[in-house]
């Protein structure tokens, strides 16, 4: 169960090898989390994360694999996760996604569709399968990794940004639909984070490392805000960027 500070005892991570998600779960294990279910793509990496979480004090860590490019697998993953948890799941962290390179998507409908499947359709299918389960357990918290890239979509990564815009909008609407039932839903909007996802890319302003991002997110999970900005300053920055006239926005560096 979540305690008065919103600290969870059991956590399901979809995208269980995401650097930021793992750093967040490590911090939760240091608080009250004892059961972790990691679902991801790569069994070997899941195993490595699982053993490190156990070393840090988690008493039960289960792993499972899935293919996010096939959204039809999502309901089965949710069913299996609840079976493995054997009780209430207090927090579901959704960190499924690939960044890709806009050049590869520009003229390729197949690659673009796959990006949308992984980043948007699979998480949306999972959240939809999750909804009745959360309502039945009468408690729960879903935190979805969106991105500032979806707040105002840039030409340099408009395919990726659009998947996050869609996911972010779905998350907020989904949250409103379950709010009166005691289910908390939050969209996490990180800026540029130095991680394996962004390796080799040039850094954006307000770049953070994984630890900074994880600290901000863990703090945000305990708050009552619908949106967690990381770093928090990006809330103000994107308020301005979002309201720039298109003429000026287009002149901004890609």
């Amino acid at each position: 169960m979540r305690n008065a500070f919103g600290q969870p005892q059991s956590v399901l991570v979809l995208g269980g090898t995401s650097d930021i998600a793992v750093a967040v779960v490590e911090r939760l294990v240091a608080q009250r989390t004892s059961t972790v279910i990691l679902a991801g793509r790569d069994q070997a990496r899941l195993d490595a994360v699982a053993s490190s979480l156990k070393e840090k004090g988690a008493s039960t860590v289960e792993t499972m694999t899935f293919d996010a490019s096939d959204p039809s697998t999502a309901p089965g993953v949710i069913d299996d996760a609840f079976a493995k948890a054997g009780g209430t799941i207090d927090l579901v962290l959704i960190a499924v996604g690939i960044l890709g390179n806009q050049d590869d998507f520009d003229d390729d409908p197949v690659a673009t569709t796959k990006l949308f499947d992984v980043n948007l359709t699979w998480p949306v299918a999972a959240m939809t399968a999750l909804r009745p389960k959360l309502l039945a357990q009468g408690t729960g918290h879903v935190a979805v990794f969106s991105s500032v890239a979806g707040v105002r979509v840039r030409r340099a990564n408009f395919a990726y940004g659009s998947t996050k815009a869609g996911l972010d909008a779905f998350t907020l609407g989904y949250g409103d639909s379950v709010r009166s039932s005691g289910i908390k839903v939050q969209a996490i909007r990180p800026g540029f984070v130095r991680s394996k996802m962004t390796e080799g890319l040039s850094e954006a302003p307000f770049t953070t490392d994984i630890d900074q991002a994880a600290d901000t997110i863990v703090k945000g999970l305990s708050s009552s805000s619908d949106v967690i900005w990381s770093p928090p300053v990006l809330q103000g920055v994107f308020f301005i960027l979002k309201n720039l006239p298109a003429m000026i926005w287009r002149k901004m560096p890609g």
């Binding site: 169960m1 305690n3 008065a4 500070f5 600290q7 005892q9 009250r32 009468g138 408690t139 005691g182």
Partner: protein, 448 residues
């Protein structure tokens, strides 16, 4: 009619959704228990601060409809009371006929069922013990059947139910021994102390001379005046002590609450500054020393009942109460706790400091001989979870424990350290509820 309801405790934290049933009789409790498919827990007036009377995804029995009140036996003071009767309702009929409850907490707005589930204590614990010491018998609906339980008929079940947070069965009624009073007044001695040591010293040497004793301590003042406070002690006033109007009407039931907090203001209204100012004003207002003041029972016992829904003042983020007990040899933990909280700038109203007498045999009953400190803190300061985790460690290392009726954030691991006799509760549950049908958010969180 059953309906879904989002429930929290008095602290307004960690809401969860459950099906709520409102049984009006023992038979309906039995039916509701049989008909529910998931977990079940009883609830009274929702004054537990945390998640004790919540059952996410399960069924919560709102037992306020278990309303039954027998006449008080004039020879013995025995009264048979439904689990849904509040102390307020009981006192409204008892006081005019010269009877008082043997144990009362700081509010009258608790039910008999809740008082048993938490094995509540009052300002007289050092003399009279906790609530269950005054319960002669009770009717308990368990998944294994309905039983009449007394300390003689089934001591294990009786005491496991004392402070057992509803996990051994649903209490439907109980027989309670009331105490006779000549008047509805208390004669009160008040004394102000400039620091914690002097107040604790006065309590050690003088509490035994009074039936009731409690100290209010300021947790926000640092330095040499840390833990300054006001000690109030008293006894029931006799008719001879009354003068004027009260002498002609010596037995008056407490009136209805006049003030209410109609809406929840933004969190942060009660912050370090506003609370500091309040504590300062409160301390200045108290007399240096005043003996023999006549106060009404309501003023003396139930200061929290002056304003309805005062819990809303802490805003939508809610608040928690931290209450622990340590034995006499570990009185320094009280000092450490106040130091740690004032040092971390956690805004806290006055803390309540009291001495307990020996505990009862309940494996989950809170009181034990020593010191208990209780304080309210709003949710919000980022350092708060860590500071309280530290205090948990101090309390557990000292062989002390936290009060589950107040708790909303203890870890499952430390619960077992603090309540080492929990196996006795488990043994009783294996007998009366082997499938653990009776379950609450608190029990799940603490893995009881």
């Amino acid at each position: 009619m059953a309906h879904q309801e989002l429930l929290t405790g008095w602290g307004n934290t960690a809401p969860s959704l459950a099906t709520v049933e409102r049984p009006r009789s023992l038979d309906e409790v039995v039916d509701d228990l049989a008909a529910s498919t998931g977990d079940v827990i009883a609830r009274g007036l929702g004054r537990s601060y945390g998640d004790a009377a919540q059952c996410a995804g399960g069924t919560v029995l709102d037992n306020r409809g278990l309303w039954h009140l027998s006449p008080i036996d004039p020879a013995t003071g025995l009264v048979e009371v439904g689990a849904g009767v509040s102390l307020d309702e009981l006192l409204a009929t008892a006081i005019p006929s010269g009877w008082f409850v043997p144990v009362t907490p700081g509010t009258r707005q608790v039910t008999i069922g809740g008082a048993i589930a938490a094995d509540i204590h009052g300002k007289n614990h050092h003399v009279d013990g906790s609530f269950m010491n005054h319960i002669m018998a009770m009717t308990l609906v368990t998944p294994a059947g309905t039983v009449e339980v007394s300390p003689e008929s089934d001591p294990d079940l009786f005491w496991a139910t004392a402070g057992g947070m509803g996990l051994t069965g649903v209490v439907t009624k109980a027989t309670l021994r009331m105490i006779p009073i000549e008047t509805s007044y208390v004669t009160v001695d008040t004394e102000r102390f400039e620091n914690l040591d002097s107040i604790m010293e006065a309590m050690i040497t003088g509490d035994d001379d009074y039936r009731y004793s409690v100290a209010w301590v300021d947790c926000m003042t640092k330095g040499p005046k840390m833990g300054r406070g006001v000690l109030t002690r008293g006894d029931h006033a006799t008719r001879e002590m009354l003068e004027g109007r009260s002498a002609t009407r010596p037995l008056v039931a407490p009136g209805a609450t006049k003030l209410t907090v109609p809406i929840t203001p933004p969190s942060g209204l009660l912050n370090q500054l506003s609370i500091k100012a309040f504590n300062e004003a409160w301390f200045r207002k108290a007399p240096k020393k005043r003996d023999g003041e006549i106060q009404s029972l309501g003023t003396f016992f139930h200061p929290l009942d002056g304003v309805a829904w005062w819990n809303r003042l802490h805003g939508h983020r809610g608040f928690l109460q931290y209450q622990f007990v340590v034995d006499d040899a570990h009185g320094d933990v009280v000092r450490h706790a106040i130091e740690r909280l004032s040092g971390a700038n956690v805004p806290s109203f006055l803390a309540v400091l009291k001495r307990f007498g020996p505990g009862d045999p309940g494996p989950l009953s809170f009181p034990m001989k020593g010191w208990t400190l209780a304080l309210d803190v709003p949710i919000g300061p980022p350092q708060l979870p860590g500071v309280l985790d530290e205090l948990d460690g101090l309390v557990a290392d000292a062989g002390g424990r936290l009060y589950l009726a107040k708790d909303s954030r203890l870890s499952a691991e430390l619960l077992r350290t603090m309540y080492p006799q929990i196996d006795k509760l488990e043994a009783v549950r294996a007998r009366v509820d082997p499938e653990h049908r009776l379950n609450s958010d608190l029990a799940r969180r603490l893995e009881i």
